[in-house]
């Protein structure tokens, strides 16, 4: 280390014969990257000293080399400013500095912490008062970008100002304020144990924080892999929280006219107003409401949820959410976080939603009927959602029951669903018209047992569809015959066209039946009864009668889906 002192002037002020004060003036001082000038200091005979110094230019990359404990490497930047200091004997009494940092860059070897082109001003003042230090600072980040994994600050405009005291390993912030540019201001106070390097106490509060910028800057990086990782937000947030003894003791969240919209289009809620007080050791009442929203394409109406919070558990007697023209009602809601995992249960019922609206919202073909369900008990436990009781759908003039529904990680990466579905007495005329399949008259029963979906796609089931028992008109159009044959992949349509059957628009049948047992992407198919070289799908009766045969007992599921799509699309009018 080399020091260059340009000139040094020492003056002795004498009164009578004794030296009463020593003045030291240094014109310029250069040491390991630091250039200081006009250093004035004076020392009196009681041992008190004071002085000031102009810091002309310090190369921060040089200065930082003396601080091996820094978490990052400073590669560039300069500091300039001035400092005042005073003390007595060997004890510093007061130091105040006003420093300007310019064009600072830093990084670490992993690249997880880095900053570029940072400019800032730092004002700091520390003074000894009896047995402790009083300090205050004001740091203004004027410009430049910083990545501090996972947070990214694209520009400056943030301020950290605080004052407090420091004594015996306790650093206290009596009054602090942090301003995030575009978000708002948070007031805080707290205590840090400097020996253990731990936060022992923190209280913070902020009002009217801008949810949009706050989410982008401070929340989104931590929510990356969750449902809330890609939102568009609006509205304001009030927050108050206190931390002590290693845990959050209480918080109070207020949302005002907040809009939350998933950029992936899965959900949105608008005009959310919420008051959520919470305390570790007391019962509190929270209220969350919104004016409207949607889940996928299902529109939700105005609703409020009054809930009681007790530690990490929530209970609510009832939550009614308008869905399309019906109401989803959740009752006896209970939810608790135990050992870091969520558990809960509730009862649910759906007051009739018209299938006409539902099918439209889902982008399905138009359907008539009503969707109504009641499940006495839905249980959720650590990613596993089970239902006790069946859901019923009145649709196609018949009834569909969904029973034994179990979902694993419905919101996770690889959701799995298991259920049994049964259909009774569906009107085939409505059904075939809905799916543009070619007209059929009659009633259909069906069962899809042991249905297993992985990522919402079927991997396993035992499905069978057949004519409902009882007496009713049974007719099948030539078009439907062709389509059923096409599903079997055979050229039965051509056979009809060649025969006298082409003169008939529709035929009578006795029974219809088709089954598919899906395993490993292969559908094992069968019909109402076996026949030579295959199985019978439509068993004819009367005059004119027709019998439709299936020949392939084993068909790839993907192939079957492709055929079904071609058949139903082929029958739709093509509008160009």
């Amino acid at each position: 280390m080399k020091a260059v002192i340009a000139f040094l002037l020492i003056a002795f002020t004498t009164s009578a014969s004794a030296v009463s004060r020593i003045d030291i003036q240094i014109g310029q001082l250069t040491q390991s990257g630091i250039q200081a000038e006009n250093i004035n200091a004076s020392l009196d005979m009681e041992g008190r000293w004071q002085g000031k110094a102009m810091l002309k230019r310090a190369e921060l990359s040089e200065v930082a080399k003396n601080y091996k404990q820094l978490p990052v490497t400073v590669t560039q930047g300069t500091a300039s400013g001035q400092a005042h200091f005073s003390g007595s004997n060997t004890q510093l009494e007061r130091l105040s500095a006003d420093i300007r940092l310019q064009d600072v860059a830093f990084n670490d070897t992993e690249g997880s912490h880095a900053g570029e082109k940072i400019s800032a001003t730092v004002k700091a003042d520390i003074a000894r008062v009896k047995d402790h230090w009083q300090w205050q600072d004001d740091i203004r980040w004027l410009g430049g970008e910083v990545f501090w994994q996972p947070l990214y600050f694209p520009s400056g405009g943030h301020v950290l100002a605080a004052r407090g005291w420091w004594q015996n390993d306790v650093l206290a912030v009596e009054e602090g304020r942090v301003v995030f540019n575009g978000v708002g201001s948070l007031a805080f106070q707290g205590r840090i144990d400097t020996a253990a390097k731990s936060l022992t106490k923190l209280d913070l509060s902020g009002k009217a924080l801008q949810a949009a910028q706050g989410y982008e800057l401070l929340a989104k990086p931590f929510l990356d892999k969750t449902m809330l990782g890609n939102l568009e937000m609006a509205g304001t947030l009030d927050v108050q929280a206190s931390y002590a003894g290693g845990r959050v003791q209480a918080f109070n969240l207020g949302l005002h006219d907040a809009d939350v919209e998933d950029k992936n289009g899965r959900f949105a809620i608008y005009k959310v107003n919420a008051a959520i007080p919470w305390s570790l050791n007391a019962v509190t009442d929270a209220n969350v409401g919104f004016d409207g929203g949607r889940i996928l394409q299902l529109t939700l109406g105005k609703t409020t949820l009054p809930a009681r919070l007790e530690g990490w558990s929530l209970t609510a007697p009832e939550w009614k959410i308008p869905v399309l023209d019906g109401v989803l009602s959740l009752q006896d809601i209970s939810l608790a976080l135990i050992d870091g995992k969520w558990h809960g249960h509730l009862a649910t019922s759906i007051a009739p939603i018209s299938m006409s609206e539902f099918s439209h919202a889902m982008g399905w073909p138009h359907m008539e009927g009503k969707l109504a369900a009641s499940i006495p008990l839905v249980t959720y436990s650590d990613g596993l959602l089970t239902t006790d009781g069946a859901m019923g759908f009145d649709i196609f003039d018949g009834h569909i029951t969904v029973d034994k529904l179990v979902m694993r990680e419905p919101l996770g990466r690889a959701p799995r669903l298991n259920t049994d579905i049964s259909m009774r007495g569906l009107d085939m005329d409505l059904l075939t018209r809905t799916f543009a399949f070619g007209a059929m008259e009659g009633r259909l029963d069906g069962d899809v047992a042991g249905l297993e979906l992985s990522s919402w796609k079927p991997v396993k089931f035992d499905a069978s569809f057949r004519s409902s028992p009882g007496k009713y008109p049974k007719k099948i159009s030539q078009r439907a015959v062709e389509n059923i044959s096409a599903l079997g992949g055979a050229g039965a349509a051509a056979a009809i066209q060649r025969s006298f059957l082409r003169f008939f628009k529709e035929f009578n049948y006795d029974r219809i039946g088709l089954s598919c047992r899906l395993r490993n992407g292969i559908c094992a198919m069968d019909g109402v009864e076996p026949a030579k070289d295959g199985y019978i799908i439509v068993k004819g009766s009367g005059i004119p009668a027709i019998t439709v045969m299936g020949y392939n007992h084993s068909v790839s599921w993907e192939e079957l889906l492709g055929r079904l799509q071609r058949v139903t699309q082929g029958n739709r009018p093509v509008i160009k």
């Binding site: 690249g111 997880s112 990214y152 990466r413 992985s454 990522s455 796609k457 992407g521």
Partner: protein, 138 residues
């Protein structure tokens, strides 16, 4: 000589058995198709970072951030997220392929084969880990 022939035939028989027992890597299930779709959709975002050397192919069939300082600050968290999402998909893919072959225990074999395939398919200039785990440029 007879003994030698016997050993020879045994070897042939064994190698045939190994061949027969090899995993079908092109097998397709809905889960595999959806994983491949998700990886394909992500590839466009990753390609630039492979080329700049910011990320590379690891020897265990995953990808890793190799040189974060080659990425602009504003993109760093995005790269972290992409890498972690890609690795999630890759791990699931190896598991699903092994399971679809009816041999979940083949997962590490599937992983190793894919690790080699990724490197073979990589474009010139991309980085990968060699067998010792050190980075090399293709």
């Amino acid at each position: 000589m007879k003994k030698l022939l016997l050993v020879f035939f045994m070897l042939v028989a064994m190698s045939m058995q190994v061949f027969a027992a090899g995993a079908d890597l092109e097998i397709n299930t809905p889960a595999i198709a959806s994983l491949k779709g998700s990886m394909q959709a992500r590839h466009g975002q990753l390609a630039g970072f492979y080329a700049s050397g910011a990320i590379g192919l690891t020897r265990d069939g995953l990808i890793a951030v190799r040189d974060a300082n080659a990425v602009p600050l504003s993109q760093r968290q995005n790269v972290n997220s992409l890498v972690s999402a890609e690795n999630g998909d890759r791990n699931s893919l190896y598991k699903e392929i092994a399971a679809a072959n009816g041999h979940p225990e083949w997962e590490s074999e599937v992983r190793n084969t894919f690790a080699q395939r990724w490197v073979q398919k990589a474009q010139g200039g991309w980085w990968y880990q060699d067998q010792s785990g050190s980075w090399a440029k293709k």
